[in-house]
């Protein structure tokens, strides 16, 4: 990486530890760790050496080894799981969802790209933000429609609270618009199909409450006591506030290196500040009064490099949908809501690489559901 900028934004090296780092480790080494325990992991099975090891190995067992029933071991019986398109809180729903996904995508392989974590203390366990690249072939009916028999890849970020060997809370975001494009499905067609799937009664309750909360710029109720590095927290809040709330894109150079790389949903890719500004501007133009909240931040050092930090940010955004796209024009004026997660790799205090994930298919499906619901209630057909 060529990033010759002096230390900026006051991001100082985070405390080093021996917790597993994924980047240069091969899968066999990750599945058979030999290092001694590096975290206390109170209440976790003794085989796990740290929270990263726990996340990587349970994911492999459930998805690659197809031990779907292990969800019963590694998820709490009551485990709220939020996605932008659905809600579930029973472990049986997690089993059902996993089984249906494997049925539709039988060769789905999950590649762990990074796990950014936070110790929440002995009463609350650990927070993990797991970025995954999945490769999968669509061989059966899925939430997007009939089987297309095409292979695609998708980035997912799963933010989980893990307590005593179980996942007890999860926010899951997947770049489904990028996936469906590879499967040969129009994003809006996938959204229309998705919108027909009935949702849990609590889903709408949660979504409406989140829209009100974000509009009022209130913090998420999910706050944890253990401290997060002050400079990391400040950088993350300012990044979101400057670009998404204030929309001062001229300040992008405060946050990004001149050759920073950005991956955004739907295949949006940019390198360099002009392209990054353009990506955010073009996307925000469909929701010009958008307001965002920074809901959770955690950070870990990258490998043993002293000036490289990985930050995971979970954030939400809402505003009035105002797309200029003709196909989406019917939904203009409605509430638009996004549940998003970003992984940022900072080198010398500025972003060298960004992966931002949210589900555009679900976001549009929610617009369609709202539109249909309003028109049904008004008697319009």
């Amino acid at each position: 990486m060529n990033h010759k900028t002096a230390l900026t934004n006051n991001i100082m090296p985070l405390p080093q530890s021996n917790v597993t780092q994924l980047y240069w480790k091969n899968l066999p080494a990750l599945l058979n760790p030999t290092a001694p325990k590096s975290q206390t992991l109170e209440g976790f099975d003794n085989e796990f050496i740290d929270i990263v090891d726990y996340i990587i190995r349970i994911t492999h067992r459930i998805w690659e080894q197809k031990n779907v029933g292990l969800c019963n071991n590694y998820y709490a019986e009551y485990c709220p799981v939020h996605t932008l398109g659905a809600y579930a809180d029973a472990v049986s729903s997690v089993v059902t969802g996993t089984l249906q996904t494997i049925s539709a995508f039988p060769d789905r392989s999950l590649i762990g790209e990074n796990v950014i974590w936070r110790d929440l203390g002995p009463d609350q366990g650990y927070y993990s933000s797991h970025r995954i690249t999945s490769i999968m072939t669509n061989k059966g009916l899925s939430e997007f429609g009939e089987a297309t028999h095409k292979t695609g890849r998708v980035t997912t970020i799963a933010d989980c609270v893990c307590f005593e060997n179980k996942i007890v809370y999860e926010w899951l975001v997947r770049d489904n618009s990028f996936l469906v494009k590879q499967l040969g499905i129009e994003v809006l067609d996938a959204s229309e199909h998705f919108a027909k799937i009935p949702t849990h009664p609590k889903f709408e309750e949660w979504r409406q409450a989140e829209i009100c909360r974000v509009r009022a710029q209130q913090q998420s109720e999910h706050q944890y006591k253990t401290p997060v590095d002050k400079a990391v927290l400040e950088f993350s809040s300012k990044w979101l506030d400057t670009l998404f709330n204030q929309k001062n894109f001229g300040k992008a150079n405060v946050f990004y290196h001149i050759n920073a790389k950005l991956q955004w949903p739907g295949g949006r890719q940019a390198v360099g500040i002009p392209g990054i500004k353009g990506t955010i501007i073009q996307w925000l133009a469909s929701c010009p009064d958008a307001q965002a909240t920074c809901d959770h931040v955690c950070a870990v050092p990258f490998e043993q490099e002293t000036d490289v930090v990985d930050i995971a940010i979970r954030w939400s955004l809402t505003g009035t949908f105002s797309s200029k796209d003709k196909k989406l024009s019917a939904y203009c004026g409605q509430n638009f809501f996004i549940l998003a997660a970003s992984h940022l790799r900072l080198v010398s205090g500025k972003i060298a690489q960004e992966w931002t994930v949210f589900d555009e298919v679900a976001a549009y499906a929610n617009l369609i559901r709202d539109f249909n619901s309003t028109n049904d209630n008004s008697g319009a057909k």
Binding site: N2, N26, N259
Partner: protein, 281 residues
């Protein structure tokens, strides 16, 4: 790394190269990014089905930090036409994390005696890239990357690299005569033979004159002795369509002049991704 790549691409030693790739590694080529167990199969089976068994007639490696750039010139055993292939590896010198590769697909079609459209049709589907429109002007913000900003102004080659970059970044064609030695050997994608400075002038012009709102973006630079590798892309408007053309350039700089350059882009993959483009007509 070099041996593993040579053995894979000349003899089909897939296992040897696979053993050097991390499970999480990806291979990016032909405007597609491939992960998982099939990635190397896809790349190698395509290459071998066209190039067949071949030999390496020239090779060069540039290493800086975790970057390892390997430039191989292949010659199929049944056809004396060379094919340029560049592999930009991210590696810790034990394992490979990622590969960004560009092969000259026009040379591949010629060397394999196939129609370009046959080679093109067999390329993997390109990723659904979405290039958001943006303001390509700097407006005195100093936001646009120049080589000296990435490698440091104090580096000996910074000035000549900036002058080279001005060719593409600012259409500063007059720099050609200043920075290339008179007998510089220049290899550009799609050409069977070396070009001279005058033909480079025409090549740059043939691309930039067809585009408006052109913008060249540097991704990475690696310097190793006299050699410099540069990963970059050219964006521009072709009529109402936005195009993106990724390049890898390898320069040899001696006595403050470029004496050798190979600049590769994947013409057939580009034409497949942007079927309305006339950039390479």
């Amino acid at each position: 790394m070099l041996d593993s790549i040579i053995n894979a691409f000349t003899k089909g030693d897939l296992a040897g190269l696979n053993s050097k790739l991390l499970h999480s590694a990806y291979w990016s080529q032909h405007n597609a990014t491939l992960y998982g167990s099939e990635k190397l199969n896809t790349v190698l089976s395509h290459w071998l089905s066209f190039a067949g068994k071949c030999t390496v007639v020239d090779h060069h490696t540039i290493e800086q930090g975790n970057h390892c750039i390997i430039h191989l010139t292949f010659e199929p055993i049944n056809n004396k036409v060379t094919i340029n292939y560049v592999f930009w590896l991210e590696t810790n010198h034990l394992m490979i994390k990622s590969v960004k590769a560009i092969v000259d697909t026009v040379q591949l079609a010629t060397a394999s005696q196939h129609e370009r459209k046959q080679v093109s049709a067999s390329l993997p589907a390109s990723d659904p890239l979405m290039i958001s429109d943006y303001d390509q002007q700097d407006h005195l913000q100093n936001d646009i990357a120049w080589p000296s900003m990435l490698v440091g102004k104090h580096i000996e080659k910074a000035e000549i690299l900036d002058a080279w970059w001005a060719l593409w970044g600012q259409n500063q064609l007059s720099n050609i005569d200043k920075i290339y030695s008179e007998n510089a050997i220049i290899n550009l994608s799609g050409h069977k033979t070396h070009l001279n400075r005058d033909l480079l002038f025409e090549y740059v012009l043939s691309k930039t004159s067809k585009l408006t709102r052109t913008f060249a973006q540097l991704e990475d630079i690696a310097i190793d002795g006299q050699h410099v590798a540069i990963k970059w892309f050219l964006d521009g408007d072709e009529g109402s369509h936005k195009i993106r053309l990724p390049f890898i350039s390898i320069l040899k700089i001696e006595s403050n002049h470029i004496t050798n350059e190979t600049t590769l882009c994947d013409v057939l993959a580009f034409n497949k991704s942007f079927p309305l483009s006339t950039l390479f007509e």
